[in-house]
């Protein structure tokens, strides 16, 4: 009985467990306990996501009515193969980031604030899961705000070690609020046309509704708002500072999962809500999103080349990688969307590992990681640095790493659409990304540590999550069948199911 009740309520559990644990964590006086709570919350979410994924593997689409209220009055959660893949990726990395957080947080955050820190942490995670599952356009806005405000708090906690975190958090707050407002304005227009907030109902009514200009305005605002959240060029400007100055644990969490949810929502707007009006979607994708994605790939890569601060360098690199994902999705072909989803998973693995390792460096150095301070760190912290190297090779897209699979499928998808100019640009940018990776690896491995530098002590507490992620990069580079299969199903679910 109990088991069945849990199974049928899985989608709700995924959101409710982290959100409910958050207030408990906030009042806990002991940092260790608050962390355990966060670990339990993200762990349960991960298990729930895995179960959901196994159910939706056969093309099953779960519709869950919160509080048993039928849509359109009640709020509906939808889990299909697209959202379940996103959830598995996010919850897995969320769990691993939590596992790594303990020691990193203990160094950067005061003990008395840890309870509140993990409360915000749980809110971010729960909010992002809600964002992915909800089928109610307005409820999506609520989850957007929950996760965004909690993220601002998390970023701001970096102020303990670097005051610039406050400005970064403030920027994110303001820019993020603009994005969320744009989104909700868009929802208002679409609501005016269709009279519903349920995405499925919107999708079925939009083709016949005489929306006219209002339809375009609504679509434009919704998309523009989510572009900000997903950090698509040129509205990515909040991201480098936010990831760069946040505490290391927060950078890991946000880089691995935060923008992934927004990218997924973008895909839902394009292919689910407006799936019935392909003309405006096609125009937007090929004339706006594709150029922006390519622009982001270049801007992110070039900024990373000129950046000396390691965390910010890889934050810029995230802008470029988000560009690859957006490019795949914007191709709007089954192969392109699959490539996008493959990279959602692989990029989470890559960046999760990279930021965890940087966290390890920062903790040992007691200073920001820059090209100068990490000189010779390969010999001084070999275990952490080797994991970093593996994730870096994966980012460069070397064979036998997950990153190679991403590039391969993206390139193939581009080739299928005969867009040779885009293909050339992607290949050039990919070659450019080797430049900044080379710079980092050269400094880390091929230069001697500065004379009289103190001995660095590795941080064994992050070994387990860090190496799980690093080996994950190799595992999914050798056997890509799971992610490729799941991504293909996700593409089918997004393109096939208009509702």
């Amino acid at each position: 009985m109990m088991g069945a009740a849990i199974l049928t309520n899985l989608p709700a559990l995924l959101v409710v467990v982290p959100l409910l644990l958050a207030p408990f964590s906030a009042v806990l006086p002991i940092a260790g306990l608050a962390w355990v709570l966060a670990l339990v919350g993200t762990g349960i979410s991960f298990l729930a996501a895995l179960m959901l994924q196994s159910v939706t593997e056969n093309g099953v689409r779960i519709s869950y009515h919160l509080g048993n209220w039928e849509p359109p009055w009640g709020i509906e959660f939808v889990v299909d193969s697209a959202s379940s893949l996103t959830l598995v990726v996010m919850s897995a990395l969320g769990f691993l980031a939590t596992l790594a957080a303990r020691r990193l947080v203990a160094i950067e955050i005061a003990d008395k604030d840890s309870g509140k820190f993990y409360a915000a942490w749980l809110l971010v995670v729960g909010g992002l899961f809600g964002l992915v599952m909800t089928a109610d356009a307005f409820n999506l806005f609520v989850f957007l705000e929950i996760s965004a405000l909690a993220s601002v708090i998390l970023i701001g906690t970096g102020a303990g070690t670097d005051r610039r975190a406050l400005v970064a958090g403030y920027h994110y707050l303001v820019i993020g609020a603009v994005g969320a407002t744009f989104y909700v304005i868009g929802v208002g227009f679409v609501y005016a046309i269709t009279g519903t907030l349920n995405m499925g109902d919107m999708a079925s009514r939009l083709p016949d509704a005489a929306g006219g200009a209002a339809l375009y305005v609504g679509f434009g605002f919704m998309v523009a708002g989510m572009l900000v959240k997903a950090a698509i060029f040129p509205v990515h400007i909040w991201l480098p500072a936010a990831y760069g100055y946040a505490p290391s644990a927060v950078s890991t969490l946000l880089a691995a999962i935060a923008t992934k949810a927004a990218l997924y929502v973008l895909a839902r707007i394009f292919f689910t809500i407006f799936g019935g009006t392909p003309d405006i979607v096609d125009i937007a994708l090929s004339n706006i999103i594709v150029p922006l994605a390519v622009g982001g790939i270049f801007v992110g890569t070039i900024m990373a080349i000129y950046e000396a601060d390691i965390k910010k360098m890889f934050a810029h690199s995230s802008v470029a990688q988000i560009g690859y994902i957006a490019l795949g999705l914007a191709l709007a072909t089954p192969a392109g969307i699959s490539a996008g989803f493959i990279h959602i998973g692989n990029h989470a693995l890559i960046k999760g590992g990279i930021f965890m390792a940087i966290g390890g460096f920062v903790a040992a150095l007691g200073a920001r990681a820059s090209l100068e301070t990490i000189t010779g760190i390969g010999r001084r912290m070999p275990i952490t640095a080797t994991a970093f190297l593996i994730c870096g090779l994966s980012l460069a897209g070397l064979p036998l790493t997950a990153g190679f699979i991403s590039k391969l499928y993206l390139v193939r998808a581009i080739l299928e659409t005969d867009s040779y100019a885009i293909l050339a640009l992607v290949l050039i940018s990919s070659a450019l990304s080797v430049v900044y990776l080379w710079k980092v690896m050269e400094v880390m491995w091929m230069q001697p540590a500065p004379a009289r530098s103190p001995k660095l002590i590795e941080n064994p507490a992050i070994y387990l999550p860090l190496w799980m992620v690093a080996l994950g990069n190799i595992w999914f580079g050798i056997d890509a069948s799971w992610i490729v299969g799941a991504a293909r199903l996700a593409a089918t679910a997004l393109l096939g199911g208009g509702a």
Partner: protein, 484 residues
Amino acid sequence: MMSIHTAMLVGLLAPLVVAILTPFLAVRHVWRDAAGPIGGVITFIAAVHVALAVLDGETPRLFVAQIAEGLALEFAVTPLGAIFGLVASGLWILAALYSVGYMRGNHEKHQTRFAAFYAVAVHAAMAVAWSGNLLVLFVFYEILTFSTYPLVTHKESALARNAGRLYMSILVGTSVVLLLPAVVWVWLSTGTLDFRPGGYLAGQIDPAMAPILLALFAFGVGKAALMPIHRWLPAAMVAPTPVSALLHAVAVVKAGVFTILTVVVYVFGIDFLSETGAADWLVWLSAFTILASSMVAITKDDIKARLAYSTISQLSYIVLGAAIASSIAVQGATLHIVMHAAGKITLFFCAGAIYVQAHLTKISELDGQGREMPWVFAAFFIGALSIIGIPPLGGSWSKFMLMVGAVDSGYLVILGVLGLSSLLNIYYLLEPVSRGFFRPKVKTVEVTSHPLVVIPPVLTAILSLLLFFYVDFFADLAKLMVIS
């Protein structure tokens, strides 16, 4: 009897096992130092086994994992791979013995680390040789680069580190930026990366694009040291001589030309290349490299630097054979992998032996030293003659076939290039020998005797001689490459 499957596993894993055991065996230096030669013998036996099966017309395979459609982690031994595997493992036995003598005689530090990475490099070379497709080849090509970096920078001096940086930036840079896209290009246009007799690009890619794809391969494979991406090889000479001998005269550089030959024979197909003339430009570029690096070699007084430029020149013989893309030229190029390996490793062994025993590194200092170290100078003489291509030494076969190949395909100018190059070889490779035997001594040095650095070059010199008379085994394997 070993099954062919076991033989492949042993050949691939024995060097790796040696590498893993080395740190543990280091408690007794004798144990650690015995591991290399013993591993070499085991690997070589496996390689012979595999080569015999290939000679019988089999293609030994070892499947590891399926990555995605058309992409497998798989080993499969082509005749060319069988030859390269034999060369790498066979010479490892002697090089491992030699390293012990060299490292001990020279009182080098970090001998355990050195021995371990040395074995990893051999493992990577074996895996390159037996790789079943371009993807596997690429992966182990990279591992070979990474594993040799600690060997190049072994001395940990500023000079060594700068050399290491140049080494890595050229080899990793070219492979990631040019070679990897070339591999992906092949996969996208054909759906496979396997090696097939006769190649499979004909009809799959636009003949007008073939020269560009070939250029991505030729310049992406930095290890082939085609000009202008040859700078890493002289830089790598900062490494201890056993590294220069086995890796930068045999395993690493031969992995480079092996890759180019493999791509030409088993991916492009020589018929496709010769019909479209897609490799024409490569004929001239490799001819240029042959002459230009010989010219540079003449100006070098440092023995190892001269040998390095000689290697660049000789590697381009192999690239030239691949670029001419006729049956006889490709066979000549393949044989040159074997012949040059035996000859050049002899020369490097000698250079190291002279350094360990007399601490001489310059050719101008060798005057009259021949009588002090007769065996070493005699071995150098034989090795040099083989590289020049004078019968009855192995090198004469491969040069002869390359010349025939050039004439057959109408490249008469190339015949002149090869002739001129041989003359230059005579000058700059025999100079150290003639100085050693015929000039009066200019410098009196104390020569300490270290038999472990003298016996290996004498053996490889004898090998060069034997290869002239027993060339059939390799020639038969090479013939299998071009008969589909």
